[in-house]
Amino acid sequence: MKKIIDYLKNEFNSYSRNIRIALVVLCALVGLFIIFGIQILFWGLGYTDMSNLYPFGQWIIGDLGLVALGGGAFTTGFFLYIFRVEKLEPIINSTVLIGFMCYLFTLVFLVFDIGQPIRAWFGYTYPNWGPHLMPQSMLTEVVWCLTLYFCILFIELIPLPLKHKVLDKIPALHYIGHYMHKLMWIMAAAGTFLSFFHQGSLGGGMWGVLYAKPVWFDPMYFFWVIPAAMGGGTSFMLLCAYIAGKVMKKEVVPIETFHTLARISGVMLIIFLVTNAIHVYTQATIYVPAADRRYVDIFGGYYGLWMVVIEFLFTIAAIVFLNLKKFREQERFFLAGISLGALGVAMSKCTVVLHGSSVPNFPWRPFIGYNPTIQEWSVFLGGLATMVLIYMWAAKYLPLFPHLHKHENEEH
């Protein structure tokens, strides 16, 4: 026991002061996550600020955001393995790990969010399938697609630990890792197929089918959100790798990889901007008036219109910075572009849940305010902190960035 404590102490002291502070904060958040997570699981959702008038809250925003931003994994894999954009090779391990964690913590947040996590398997045993193979409930589709894609990400992740210098020396594991990597295009294709569906269903279709709720209803909502996940997700993958490089003070990914993926992200964000504009237009001119309400009224309240405006401003700025070469090649504009791309998509998820849930159903009711409790913040931030810690661990001990390892080996 003493040896373990000494090892941990030495390990902790081997880091710089800033990293040590970050580790303390992250571990504290994980501690709160465990404490309040137990409270929520055993004593119920009464400790949240959600209510019968505001049934979806912060964790659903987290789910939507993580799945959309994790969508960068399937997009990068699709361009690398199917379109053979080889320049993306140095970042693929990082994107697969982030994608895997995004989906893992989506499932973790869902466990906290549903009232009966012990019955979560009902989604597999009593699925709401409609006629033929079409799921009746968008959530049924989400449950199945999310699970299958999570399995695919897990398989995609296997070669990463197998490339560790210790495991790689074992011939059997070396060949398994090698051939799995060669056949990964099959997983990338299956992952893309599944991702298209659940990005559409969780991000948009789930809301677009709610015909009695004019703030959400839009039959084409399913399709609008797929480019959002592809654009915002790739920006997020770039942002994570960029921050990792800054923290490690090394070139973890070659600049061409950054720029190639940034261009893909920029183009996807243009499609997102156009489709999002069509979505707002159709809602404002067809579906909201069909419910005898006005768009400006329904997007009033505490959240509403200003969030939609910010969403558009962020997306437009990201498009400019990522698509124009003169901006993309300047580091600060590149950083602003990828940050705003990810934030624009995250903001669109806030608009859907935070604002959508606040809209009153009766004319004599006001908009509803939502103030997450310490339990909700702890589970949410603790989950994100766990993801950061796993990423930090993987960056240190696994060949997360092959480019970096190649350079280090060359130097030696």
């Binding site: 119920g44 549903i114 009593y126 709401n128 959530l139 069909a290 159903n361």
Partner: protein, 278 residues
């Protein structure tokens, strides 16, 4: 022998004709709250020492107090009470009912019967609250805490209604367990026609002024059917009803509408005006 008899009964059983609906006369409603209490008693609503957290309270029938103008002074201020429960929506096509909450459930915990009543199986529900989000009438309640019936309330629990566990969504089912009880009685007396049995939900039975009427909307001679066609009748925030027939047809081509089976009646124009968002 018994098996053959039961097979014959199944074959001979007539098709369901009933389409249950309700009419509530707001001009007669005094806001006494008897309906809400009867509902809570009949359906084993949890009762906590402190039930002041209204948005988290579990109740099937919410007595909404509305006023024409919060700042109005006497004698210009008007107040009305609107008893609001699940409105048993059916979507655009009553022959193929599609309530907004049914198709969204990922585990088929909620369904709509051939009598038009939207059911909910407490023990199947996983508590995702998607149905709550889809409901335009805020008619569904979630058990945020472990349901309790503190003190001597436990002794008055209704054995016909199961008690929901924490983390599940519950809702009004027009007291369909009472109908089942009445049907069982009728079957014991030799009556096998499912359409022969009528019943009264607890809220309607408890109303002291007769403001609530329950019955079969498919029967043109029933009182509820007659009241639903009354010129004083309207449906809660369902303003499409006020539009001309061709405009209604155009709008129904764009989207589904809830089309609830609960009708409200009033002769006070301000209550009808309040149903509009603009």
């Amino acid at each position: 022998m018994e098996h053959n008899e039961s097979a014959n009964i199944t074959r001979k059983a007539p098709a369901m004709r009933r389409r249950w609906g309700m009419a509530i006369d707001l001009d007669k409603c005094t806001g006494c709250g008897n309906c809400a209490i009867a509902c809570a008693q009949e359906n084993n609503m949890p009762i906590f020492k402190d039930d002041s957290d209204l948005p988290k309270r579990v109740t099937f029938l919410d007595l909404m107090k509305v006023t024409n103008d919060r700042d109005a002074q006497y004698p210009n201020v008007h107040v009305a009470y609107i008893p609001k429960m699940c409105q048993q929506c059916e979507g655009n096509d009553p022959s193929d009912p599609k309530p907004p909450c049914v198709s969204v459930c990922p585990v088929v915990a909620t369904d709509v019967g051939d009598d038009g009543v939207v059911s909910q199986v407490w023990s199947r529900c996983i508590g995702c609250r998607y149905c709550q989000s889809s409901c335009p009438y805020e008619a569904r309640a979630f058990n945020w805490w472990k349901p309790r019936n503190e003190g001597r309330f436990q002794e008055s629990l209704n054995p016909d209604v199961s008690i929901a566990s924490r983390g599940t969504v519950v809702k009004c089912t027009f007291c369909s367990h009472i109908w089942k009880r009445e049907r069982d009685k009728a079957v014991a007396n030799g009556e096998l026609d499912i359409n022969a049995v009528l019943y009264t939900p607890a809220c309607v039975a408890s109303c002291p002024t007769g403001a609530m009427v329950f019955g079969d909307l498919n029967d043109p001679n029933s009182e509820v059917s007659r009241l639903s066609r009354d010129r004083r009748a309207f449906r809660l925030v369902h303003t499409i009803d006020e539009k001309p027939a061709d405009e209604q047809k155009r709008l129904r081509g764009i989207k589904n509408y809830p089309n609830p089976k609960v009708y409200y009646l009033t002769s006070q124009q301000w209550i009808r005006d309040m149903q509009r968002f603009r």
